[in-house]
């Protein structure tokens, strides 16, 4: 019988983009137990809600996550708007959708690059990030910033996309799609990718549901949950089907994310085609009334839940953010034991971890 040894993994590890620490108990090369430790980037943003007024908080919650920041702002604004009974102009809903989908594309591409890096496929990593740069340019040209775009405010959005920009975005997206098709073949069929992902980290449908997994983690296991189908923002006007894969391994989650990129491109095209003219925001008067509200939306990593309790003043009583990675951690702890040590980076990255989300 072999001895067990404990290997600390992270928080600084060459292939991990995020500061997560795992204590791995290994038996030879096989991981038998895994204990996580977080908190390296805990910033107390939830508590900050009691110190900043509710309009300023929009910019704070955007900083919960650097990758899906715009969707954090959107979800927060939607929660406050629901509490205050504000109707957002339709154009603002469309614009929010367009920016959210751009964020989804760039998030998935970023993930794909890091994932390729995790199993040593540097070439794929460079190619995806090259494509991602086009999306970043679109974000910068339409909002003024590359990552934290600060476009959402309570009552609508702050920036508009004019018809010239819309044409340019469509042109860029065509180019992105063309380049993505090449990459797509690699992700789907490449021998290296398949060797490192097929059958690795299998999560069955029942397990995914029971462990509360969300986003591509759940969709890759055949759980058909995509909050966009509930029709928040402009999704009610757009035509799409949630993307679900059955296999439940890392490869299936790859496919979900890859197909979601193409879906997002399609959604942006639809949205830019249908977007009506009009106001982009409505003035907001007064403070949110006392009350509690839960607002959810589908981020690139899954479902984010905002709980807001307001007491009628301009400061919120409590803001709580349940981020998708937090929900996927139990699933990660489920798939780690029994895996090989060399697969650990792949498994961590397959949940698309965003640790600063998790810790807020």
């Amino acid at each position: 019988m072999s001895d067990k040894s404990t290997i600390p993994f992270g928080p600084q590890h060459p292939v991990l983009p995020e500061p997560i620490h795992l204590k791995l108990v290994v038996e030879d090369e096989k991981v038998v137990e895994a204990y996580p430790a977080f908190g390296f980037v805990h910033r107390g943003l939830e508590t900050l809600a009691q110190k900043k007024d509710f309009n300023q908080m929009v910019y704070v919650v955007e900083r919960v996550c650097g990758i899906c920041s715009c969707m954090h702002g959107q979800d927060y604004c939607e929660a406050i708007e629901e509490l205050m009974g504000i109707e957002v102009p339709v154009r603002a809903e469309y614009l929010r959708t367009i920016w959210a989908e751009l964020h989804r594309i760039h998030s998935h591409l970023l993930w794909l690059g890091l994932f390729a890096d995790a199993f040593g496929f540097e070439n794929l990593f460079m190619q995806t990030w090259k494509i991602r740069e086009k999306i970043m340019d679109i974000l910068e040209a339409t909002s003024g910033n590359r990552v934290i775009i600060s476009v959402n405010i309570v009552g609508g959005v702050r920036k508009d996309i004019n018809s010239e920009q819309a044409k340019w975005i469509l042109k860029e997206l065509d180019e992105v799609e063309r380049q993505l098709k090449d990459i797509n073949d690699v992700v789907m069929n490449n021998y290296t990718v398949k060797q490192r992902t097929v059958g690795i980290g299998v999560l069955t449908k029942e397990e995914a549901y029971e462990l509360g997994a969300t986003g591509p983690m759940a969709k890759g296991s055949g759980v058909d949950l995509d909050l966009r189908t509930t029709g928040y923002a402009a999704y009610k006007y757009l035509d799409f089907e949630p993307i679900v894969e059955k296999a439940g391994d890392s490869y299936a989650r790859n496919l979900v994310r890859m197909r979601e990129i193409f879906q997002s491109i399609d959604l942006i095209r639809q949205a830019l085609g249908k977007i009506p003219d009009g106001e982009i925001n409505v003035p907001v008067k007064g403070n949110p009334p006392a009350g509690e509200v839960i607002s959810r939306l589908e981020q690139s990593r899954g479902e984010v839940v905002y709980y807001i309790k307001s007491n009628g003043t301009k400061f919120l009583d409590r803001l709580r953010i349940r981020t998708p990675t937090f929900a996927n951690i139990p699933a990660l702890l489920k798939i780690l034991p029994g895996s090989q040590l060399q697969d650990v980076p792949v498994l961590i990255l397959t949940i698309d971890p965003c640790i600063s989300c998790t810790e807020r």
């Binding site: 204990y35 996580p36 430790a37 977080f38 908190g39 805990h42 107390g44 939830e46 508590t47 629901e82 509490l83 549901y209 029971e210 462990l211 509360g212 949950l225 909050l227 189908t229 509930t230 009350g291 509690e292 509200v293 839960i294 607002s295 959810r296 839940v305 709980y307 309790k309 009583d317 409590r318 709580r320 349940r322 937090f326 929900a327 951690i329 139990p330 699933a331 810790e359």
Partner: protein, 125 residues
């Protein structure tokens, strides 16, 4: 969605949660709030796209853990335990205060009132 949560006695918490579990609900999250000298913990479950909330009011001691019913609750219960200092009974895996906080972190940083005083670090500081 405006929250409409149902209050549950602490004694009945587990059986209520079990009902949701057996009814095919998935666990979404727990949210802990500071009340004056008490805490309120809201449990959120979802079936399909619909949410259901129940809550308990507690003084922070001996809250039954639901992590044996929904194993994924252990992450959020460990977080609440560390950030608010709430004591859970029967946590499936207790990270012993090392989930979110480190050895030199402040104790229960988000709580208005203090219930436990964790022995700092335990090891040589």
């Amino acid at each position: 969605m405006i929250v409409n949560s149902r209050e549950v006695e602490i004694g009945n918490l587990k059986s209520e949660v079990k009902k949701y579990h057996d009814g095919g609900y998935r666990f979404v999250t727990e949210t802990c709030l500071n009340l004056e000298d008490k805490f309120k913990i809201i449990y959120t479950f979802a079936i399909g796209y619909d949410l259901e909330n129940i809550h308990i009011i507690t003084d922070g001691k001996n809250v039954p853990s639901v992590s044996d019913i929904y194993s994924c609750a252990l992450a959020v219960e460990n977080e609440i335990k560390e950030l608010f200092g709430i004591e859970f009974d029967g946590l499936a895996v207790d990270f012993g205060g090392n989930f979110m906080l480190g050895e030199s972190s402040p104790i229960s940083p988000q709580a208005d009132i203090e219930i436990i005083r964790r022995e700092k670090g335990g090891k040589n500081e």
